[in-house]
Amino acid sequence: MNCPRLKDWFSERYDLEGMKSFAKHKLVPTHKYEIWYYTGGIALFLFIIQFITGIVLSFYYIPYFEHAHKSIIEIVTKLNMGWFFRSLHHWGAQIAIVVLFIHVWSTLLLKAYRKPREFLWFSGFVLLGISIFFGLSGYLLLWDERAFAAVRVATGGAGNLPVVGGFIKAFLRGGIDVTGDTLTRFYAFHVSVLPLVTLFLIGLHILLVQYHGMSVPLSVKKEERKEIPFFPNLIYKDLIIWLVVLGIVVTLATLMPPEIGKKADPLAPAPENIKPEWYFLFLFQTLKLFPGEIFGLNGETIAILLISAGIFFFFLIPFFDTKSQRGEKSPLFTWIGVVYFLYFVIMTVVGFIS
């Protein structure tokens, strides 16, 4: 399509040639670890899928405790392709969290957080936390007995934090227990607060990547480094990977649509063998390791404090890893990353099979 008049109209108002030249001259490094660069692009693509499918579902979902469960059943059973969009939203979320975990760990192991990219690490880490909260808030919207019990456990766990725990629990629940108010609150988080914060952070993250450029691992020697144009080479490679990811999400959504349980009943006992979503299993399993009381203190509070300290240390790693800041190799932090990864995987698997 060639529209010279339209092109001229835009050229008179915006520096199109400058933008074209910027895209043409932007170079990205290529080396043996470049595969990890694509995880960020995949996460962005999955966020776009989540936004589109989420908007479609929100046209029909009713965020009121008496109608929420029924509205989802109607989306799945009565709407044309409703089951598919819900399944796509579910699997998109699951894969997005897997990809975000891989992205964070690859950043850690390649020390891409080192000076001057500390804010890239912080914004990415907060985005992972937000994505997990997206998962928790979206899970409750189903308003079935499993989601209800899982949210009661998760918000109850947050309540065990000293000093601020009670406030966080009451703020999340909108009262002393999980009720219809929690549902409306989680809906507001899921469709307005979290998407706004996510959009802002994704924008900041991409801007910082543009500003600093891609990080090259310390182990890649100068003579091994090459650069390729971002446009069209990297864009086409990204496109191929996005299409494969789309295929995987669509296949999972078609072959394994998520089940819907019985409508939540706040007065009924929690169903047996209740488990949270897979990304909370390592926390759930860690809590199980601790006895009820340690030296007269609440065991659960101590466990939550230790977990919070572990996550906080992980968040502040760019400041602790002083060797990387100086441009030297720091195997200690590679091992710390490996230990975190193994702990997460082992606890998740144990939680899944137990």
């Binding site: 399944s87 086409y236 299409l243 296949t251 649509p257």
Partner: protein, 77 residues
Amino acid sequence: MAFAGMFLYAVDLFAQQDKIDVFPAVPYDRFIVYQNLIIFWIGLIGLIIIIKMKLREIERTQRMGIDKEEEDIPLLD
């Protein structure tokens, strides 16, 4: 025997009422969904092959160095 069969059918019917169909239940609809999934993958693979071919061509022209415009190219006008 027939009574046992009827009983099992009734039990199965009540058991199914608890489970919500999250996928089209009619066999014909299921067939259409699976058929569409196969067509989708064929289209996707075709698209990937076209992009891959395009990328290879771009890399070839870049290796030859004919993707860059010459600065002192003589113009006819």
